[in-house]
Point group: C3
Chain length 321, copies 3
């Protein structure tokens, strides 16, 4: 979908739309840069002038606490100016198209847009219509992609289990409505992950998923057998139409991650979740807060990864903008 | 309405409420300062410390993307701190009056308020009630005035056609509901524009408009004959009560700016629009995006003009605040 | 309720939840620090790098103009980065708990949360669940406490009448629904105020108030007799259930602060109000704007006090964060 648009004529990262077409080396370079920003966040003064004088616009057509805030924090720590725009206060309500909104903002000489939209492909569409000195970062589009989330998950795994070739990773839950799942599979494959499993009720498995080279399980205990990493998905109740799951209680009984169920996995299994957590629905509280959980580390890595992507895209540019 | 209030006892620009009473030299000085900020926006580091340590409050009692954002970007590029306040989250909902809100904010030692309000005269009213070290900039009030919009339009024309005396400028559309139109006529006259035309259906022409020294046309083809500049107005559908236009389709047929209709004007005519655009309603997409359009240049100039006004008002002050 | 949680193991101020347990010396130290920030606000450049590289989150589960804005201004003048989060755009609407929201934000290595919540005890609850390098400042919780408001009121009194032992202070109005009143009584007692009076209709007096060592009056003229300071409370109409006051007009006749009624107090009495003011309901306009009123000075002091609390909590820390 996004072909070469992410890489500019000079070979530099120009946009960050999807991990699918991104070269593995570039992805690993981003992870390494992100690692250098992790220590940074524990310093007394969390501010570097790398993006001083740059303007970053959070262009959110869909509400989101976590993603908007991490991008805002990441940009401010790099000394960029941040402008927040939520869809409800925006001109699109006056009938303006998305592309007109973007053109208007780019005419203000803003440098990067973080785009969040319920329409799959929105970030890609916008990236194809902006001039080369304007950069688009996908903050999540429809069911399609959420590449910074996937990148932070890869970082979280790599910190603890760096040999992806020998890993078995299970992605559990609502694959059908999840942009995280798609990006995740793409990233894991790029890093050469040994085995990728999907555990989900049949009603939440999109057609064609098998073609991606993943193993599909509808039985959770079997699916979790000896895995190294469990990536729980959030049950997107707000996106479901019709009766895709029997009831919340039955869903938890079949696909909730309880302590008992966790026993199936490797003793040092990592438990991940993109948040926000539905406690007692897709994951037990004791597991979310337990020793295997790296959920809060994912959040910390989220800031570092976004700093890395923004620095890569906007930093070190010696051309006028 | 705003008489001398804009100019302080020391002859300095203290508030920016309306262009009507502003001396021509001061207006041209602002345009020249704005021009110096245009190149600035294309630099790699778009940040100067001119207003470091100043606090600018965006006090918006009416929603607006573009105006709020340009003021915010302009202030941040000058290194000021910006506080955004939208009416829905404000104390006025708890029964506090506008003046109490303003007094409270000025007691926090904020320096400048950008005021946007649906009530004509709101910015003027506030300016008459603040102490001298607090500055008011009109971000658009009711049907009365939108002076930074008019200023950026003058800049856009001056860059391309600096001899206003020889220009014929047509303002097209909903003059009745437009604060842009009033400010525009005032600014064009101050710069000695050769001829100002208004093209509008009779129902959207306010009484007394002829007295302003403009030529009125209800036929668009005749009105556009040989003009140098066309200023399209936004059809303010949300402000109309009752049936002032027959239908959107008929409106476009009579007053929409199509490519065919553009032929009436000079070959190097400029097409302007304050945005957001209603494509296919007041202007054809091909015209909005065409060679004559300077619409996006208007947006860029909007940031430069607001930087100029804020610098003029708050910068260089050597007195304590 | 908040016992020792405010003071860290090293004796430093770690959180600012309530004035009740705070040592008098620490409270007076905060007032003295705040005083040094008052002159600062009148300087031409209101910016110091004391909290550069720190991240402050305004975590508001309840709307508030004044409190949010003063904290934002205070933090920005100290060069901290500020992230605004209003409950309506937050994950709690997706079913996340408050503590999960806070854990997520602290994983982003944010330093301080300003918490505003309708639930009494929210700030205390959160402070008990964050690691030591994360700081909580109570921005008002339910009916329980609003300590920065009380602190700024003490500063406002101390500037003009520093001998608390000889003062008679009357708090007037809706004590039942007021978090300001509770914090106020606590602060006044700590500073050794000679006499504290409560003037209120019987229906708005909470049970057990007498035990706090205050004198209760239901007759306003008698209650105001010879007082040095009058602290008016805001009538919290939005929090009242059922008919607690007869009518707004009757309320004003019995408990509104008119010029005539003011005659009962000392000739140099101070009139205070936390704002926003209900003019003509709890206070006459002429009194609110009159010579005795120090209401706007309270607002100015509000910024200074918040700068002092934040500097005390986050500044000078030499440990990594």
């Amino acid at each position: 979908m996004s072909r070469d648009i992410q890489i500019g004529a000079d070979g530099r990262l120009n946009h960050f739309i999807s991990l699918e077409e991104l070269p593995r080396e570039l992805m690993e370079e981003l992870l390494t840069t992100a690692e250098s920003f992790i220590d940074f966040a524990t310093r007394n003064t969390k501010k570097v002038p790398l993006l001083r004088g740059k303007t970053v616009v959070n262009l959110f057509f869909e509400p989101s606490t976590r993603t908007r805030t991490t991008f805002e924090i990441a940009a401010k720590r790099l000394s960029a100016d941040v402008i927040n725009m939520q869809s409800d206060g925006m001109s699109t309500t006056k009938g303006e198209t998305i592309l007109d909104t973007v053109k208007t903002l780019q005419a203000m000489h803003t440098d990067t847009f973080i785009v969040r939209h319920s329409f799959s492909g929105a970030a890609d569409l916008i990236a194809r219509h902006v001039p080369e000195h304007v950069h688009i970062i996908n903050g999540g589009d429809g069911r399609y992609s959420h590449p910074t989330q996937a990148l932070l998950d890869m970082l979280t795994i790599r910190q603890r289990k760096p040999l992806f070739e020998s890993l078995s990773v299970a992605i559990v839950g609502d694959v059908l409505h999840s942009r995280v799942a798609r990006s995740e599979i793409s990233a894991l494959k790029k890093l050469g992950t040994g085995e990728i499993r999907i555990i989900s009720p049949r009603t939440l498995i999109p057609t064609g998923l098998e073609d991606l080279g993943v193993r599909i399980f509808t039985d959770m205990d079997r699916g979790l057998k000896d895995v190294d990493v469990i990536v729980m998905l959030r049950l997107q109740l707000e996106r479901m139409e019709g009766q895709l799951i029997p009831s919340e209680r039955e869903y938890y009984q079949c696909y909730g991650l309880s302590e008992a169920r966790l026993e199936n996995a490797k003793p040092d299994v990592l438990v991940m979740h993109p948040g926000p957590i539905n406690r007692g629905l897709e994951i037990a509280s004791s597991v979310a807060d337990g020793d295997h959980s790296v959920i809060l580390s994912q959040v910390s890595n989220g800031v570092a990864v976004r700093m890395a992507v923004m620095t890569k895209i906007m930093g070190g540019s010696s051309t006028a903008n």
